[in-house]
Symmetry: C2
Subunit: 325 residues, 2 copies
DNA sequence: CTGAAAGCGCTAACAT
DNA sequence: ATGTTAGCGCTTTCAG
């Protein structure tokens, strides 16, 4: 910047004004500065700028579980688009469901003085963020609530969605509904399971604990569990898959066997319509969820100091898949 | 940091040493400093640190077309994982195939003094990056080559993959192969089309320009084009879809009609096995592509000044889908 | 409307 | 092994 100033025959401050298109600069001087900038290939150092000016790094941090998962990719896409509209860059990192890693990544983002944080929490204690929040870094939680910290939160109606879905199964006459979930340690899984139980209880259907299977981490595991359940005496007549990875494995096994068990699945997916097996999907708009959270975050960044909100987004039941052979 | 130093009764530099766990600090002093850090809730300002130390913001930039697309999400996931292993943060931005936006985003990343850039290029002129590259910001191009800039590049064997796939169609007796593509302006689309034509020419099959359809932007458009082609006199007996979005629409329309046309598709996808229509997929490992590029980038960041490389990754033909009814 | 000086928070280079 | 000094590139403050 000093070089540019020398070249243009003006002071450093004038260059700064021109570069930041601040007012009160004679067009003639501005032109000389711009020429010097071009000749010298000057690029403003954003680091130095935000160091001096205190706040506003024009960067927000997004912490999710796993970027490659379509659910989180959709969230990232929506957040990125809103950030871009505000000329803000997005730092994305994956916790991989590891609370220690989550904490380290969030601390690092804070060290980089992001203007705000969008977090899909992995851990259950976010009190380590309290100091940052009080120092002025807003945090919005997404998809799951924060632990031990009061903060803005945008959630999905997991319980209501699950309940509505299972109610539909019950109305179709199903009494034995198997539930397959990833990990009971995850908030969304607990809520969805609770919703399923609500519907079962309301219908006076017997609740059989052996039909609930935790720890189904991937499609292959889901397939094995389905096989095992169907080979039992008194097998379930319906399956409720609590996430999209599980759904894939369940569909495959049910199709392979030519089973006529009903399938209810949380999370919609691109090819659901073309799956060769009828299923009911609990769908929702992940992009909308992320947009709501990002909007809330920017409002905080813009100085909104009102009491923290919690917003719950609805889900919808949709019939998918092709009729049975 | 000054406050911490005062509190611990040491100099600023000692605090700096402790915070950066540099050697030559008495354990006793280090402990006092750490205590002061905890009491005062001190957080190192990463901005100031990298401003002073010149380089090493421990940040890399990733520019892709669209985060929500599974192909780019996979790339982002792989890059993020490698970055994390080096305690490096990842800034991700989407160009949405807009060259102007690409340029603006890349410039912004440079202004933030990222240590390196990973780019899936949208535009055809990247000479604006030359100054940055010469000033020491390495750039690796991914999936598509740079325009007007010599740089490391990691590509897929688009042409070879397409050729092998179409050759298989030809060997199965197909002479009229329709090709559906997104935009001829995109490098990968051109290469794939060229590969298809290679195979057709090699087989002495007639090349019919009316069977090549450009501008198929989404699944719905793909479905319409398939319908139109099949309703022609002398319709194609095989379809070659040049990307995953197009494939969805083609499958749906072919299935809807109960058509027995063959389908070849670039890009594998999760549910391909369960699609109720037989298809051949040109598959590749997008994660591996991204890992190779990120590896190359980090080698450059670590000071590798050798001549720029271009690496081409192979593709593979895989049978997918369920047999026809 | 423009410029000089001070300093954001930290680390490199040099003392001690 | 620890401390002192200078300054990274920019913006703020205040004087002209």
């Amino acid at each position: 910047m000093a070089d540019v100033a020398a070249r243009a025959g003006v002071s450093l401050k004038t260059v700064s004004r021109v570069v930041n298109d601040a007012p009160h600069v004679q067009p003639e001087l501005a032109e000389r500065v711009l020429a010097a900038v071009a000749e010298l290939g000057f690029r403003r150092n954003h680091l130095a700028s935000s160091l001096r000016s205190g706040q506003a790094t024009a960067t927000i941090g997004l912490l999710i579980e796993e970027i490659a998962n379509p659910f989180y990719a959709t969230i990232a896409g929506a957040a990125a688009e809103m950030a871009r509209q505000r000329d803000t860059m997005l730092i994305i990192a994956s916790s991989e469901e590891d609370p220690a890693r989550e904490q380290q990544l969030l601390r690092d983002m804070c060290a980089r003085r992001v203007d705000g944080l969008l977090v899909v929490p992995a851990g259950h204690d976010h009190s380590f963020l309290r100091a940052e929040v009080e120092l002025g870094t807003p945090v919005v939680f997404l998809d799951r609530p924060a632990g031990k910290l009061r903060a803005d939160t945008v959630l999905l109606d997991n319980r209501g969605g699950a309940r509505a879905g299972v109610r539909r199964l019950v109305e179709a006459g199903h009494r034995r509904v198997a539930v397959l979930l990833d990990s009971i340690g995850v908030y969304t899984m607990r809520e969805r399971l609770d919703g399923a139980q609500d519907a079962l209880v309301e219908a006076g259907a017997p609740y059989d604990n052996r039909l609930v299977r935790d720890g189904v981490r991937d499609p292959a595991a889901a397939g094995r569990v389905v096989a095992e359940l169907l080979d039992q005496p008194d097998p379930p007549t319906a399956f409720f898959s609590l996430n999209n990875r599980i759904t894939l494995g369940v569909i495959e096994e049910l199709y392979r066997r030519g089973s006529d068990a009903a399938l209810l699945a949380f999370d919609d997916f691109d090819l659901a319509r073309l799956v060769p097996y009828p299923l009911t999907v609990i769908a929702y708009d992940a992009g909308e969820l992320a947009r709501a959270a990002t909007e809330l975050l920017f409002r905080r960044i813009d100085g909104d100091r009102s009491w923290p909100h919690t917003v719950v987004h609805p889900t919808e039941l949709v019939a998918r898949g092709l009729p049975n052979r």
